[in-house]
């Protein structure tokens, strides 16, 4: 039951961070006022429900979904690829989504269309990586072939993205593309967010359900098979679910790096290596982390700082510390 209580503690931490985050901003609201409004539905301040419901709550939900999705996908990929240095964009989902979004921005499409193309771009890149690795074959080191295919597809979409930036209008389109690539929750709108959150749930629930099998998969192709796992199908299913959750969040909030790499490490430190505990804890820790980072992003300076910059600034030194620690002890 140690696992269940840890998950409850993480959930409580996420709730606490969320309430604090709702209160912080240009229009400060005290946590007691938020809680009394949440539980009684009444508020002394008429502005409070407007601020919370229309501005801060959608953003909070987006941060929870994005942080949770990226961390969950990262934990799943690290198990799948048997490598703690793997992040969710290893198969090209970020560069595919980035290319898709840039294409949409270049043609001045409406926001919903940009998001749809970005989503399609992310899915396309990962499918391309999977198909390339299938075509190459070599069943014995198929995981390595898959990673290499992902790197190739990533750099291909990266090059195409550079091409789009090169031909984009430098006064108008190029800044929009660049800003999109930095990642932000500032432009979250309730309609598209609902679709994205539904897709995150559709991918995250199966991932959480097969978390025990991810343990077995982390032993590598032949050993997992000898333990009775249909490795080929399992791997494709995990990749599809992880891609669904990452692509749907990237398409609404842009590229946010480091979270999917670093949070599974923090979570492994808390929950141990067993994916049965690691996966739900990763989701909750990632969500809480992203809420905290987004709160800083929107309130630390008079101008909003893109979250992708903050996660990278926090993530890089943290990762160096993790690497130093791991040279002493196993993951």
């Amino acid at each position: 039951m140690k696992g269940v209580s840890l998950i409850l503690v993480c959930f409580a931490a996420l709730c606490g961070v969320s309430v604090l985050s709702l209160g912080i901003g240009r229009y400060p609201v005290s946590p007691p006022a938020i809680l009394s409004w949440l539980f009684t539905g009444a508020s002394a301040d008429a502005n409070l429900p407007v601020v919370l419901l229309n501005i801060r709550l959608p953003r909070l939900i987006a941060a929870i979904a994005a942080g949770g999705a990226l961390s969950l996908a990262g934990a799943a990929y690290q198990g799948l690829f048997r490598n703690p240095m793997v992040s969710p964009d290893i198969l090209g989902v970020s560069s595919g989504s980035g290319f898709g979004a840039a294409l949409g921005i270049l043609f001045s499409l409406p926001v919903a269309a940009v998001q749809a193309i970005s989503f399609a771009g992310g899915i396309t890149a990962v499918l391309a990586a999977v198909l390339v690795s299938r075509a190459i074959g070599r069943s014995s080191d198929s995981v390595l072939v898959l990673v290499l295919s992902g790197i190739v597809i990533s750099s291909l979409f990266g090059a195409l993205l550079s091409l789009l930036k090169y031909i984009a209008d430098p006064l108008d389109k190029l800044p929009a593309i660049t800003y999109w690539l930095m990642g932000s929750f500032a432009d979250i709108r309730t309609g598209e967010l609902g679709t994205a959150v539904a897709m995150v749930l559709a991918g995250a629930i199966p991932l959480l359900l097969v978390s025990w099998r991810l343990n077995v998969l982390s032993f590598g192709e032949e050993e997992a098979r000898s333990l009775g796992l249909h490795t080929g199908r399992m791997r494709v299913a995990v990749i599809l679910c992880a891609t669904l959750v990452t692509a749907s969040m990237i398409s609404v909030c842009g590229i946010i790096g480091w979270v999917g790499l670093v949070v599974p490490h923090i979570s492994r430190f808390l929950a141990g290596a067993n994916h049965r505990r690691l996966m739900p804890v990763s989701f909750l820790v990632g969500a809480a982390f992203m809420v905290a980072v987004d709160t800083v992003a929107r309130s630390a300076a008079s101008v909003e700082i893109p979250v992708g910059i903050i996660t990278a600034v926090l993530g890089a030194p943290f990762f160096i510390w993790i690497m130093k620690r791991s040279s002493v002890r196993a993951w």
Binding site: S218, E222, S226, G228, T231, A273, A330
Partner: protein, 266 residues
Amino acid sequence: MVKAKEQSIAIRKAGLGYNGKAILDDVDLEIAPGDVVCLLGQNGAGKTTLFRTMLGFIAPVHGSVTLSGREVSRLSPREIACIVSYVPQSYAMPFAYSVSDVVLFGRSVHLGLFSSPGARDRHVAAECLDLLEISHLAARPFNELSGGERQMVIIARALAQEARFMILDEPASNLDYGNQVRVIRKVRELAGRNIGILMATHHPDHAFMAASRVAVLSGGKLSHDGSPEAMLTPETLRSLYGVEVQVFDTPQNGHASRRVCAPVVE
């Protein structure tokens, strides 16, 4: 006779290899529950190919490979894992799973796609740890164990699979002398529980200690299997390893007499 065949692993006139090219020809091998078959042969003789075929990772080029009377190429990974378990050579793991978790992974074959182990699975895993006398390691991270302890954990994991057969790939290599003997003893114990065992080894003495039969891989052939005493003569050992080896029986000194090897060094 038919019944015995249904219970066994049987390879009949099979060619084994990759991409339609057989690197082992005319392989005949049968393993029944309770057998310990020791597989000897130089590196690259085709031992891995044989294992991979028996575990269903690759299909035989021709001929038949059956597990409990069913053609292995027609079985799913899950069905194969219910019949035969596998102990690979010891290695490091990317994540610090606890020993009890590692043994529980052996139960996966008996679990539904979305389930995780229940009370019965934990009970079986605890029994397997107990049988291999490593219950005291249960809470330790696998990665921090010694080579001998890791090998015992992986054998416990295979045992937790509750398959009738176990394939062990050089379970005693890279272990110190005492741990080699401990592993071989456990292999004998498992055979006593009616598990059929195929074990690769580079030490003919391991075959004398544990094997009921010996099979020798060399020159793309599997020499027909016989008792260790009949198979492992100074002549076959010389042709297999290229060195002179004396083979003799230990004296009766309170322990039962046993055949041993002594390589000639001068």
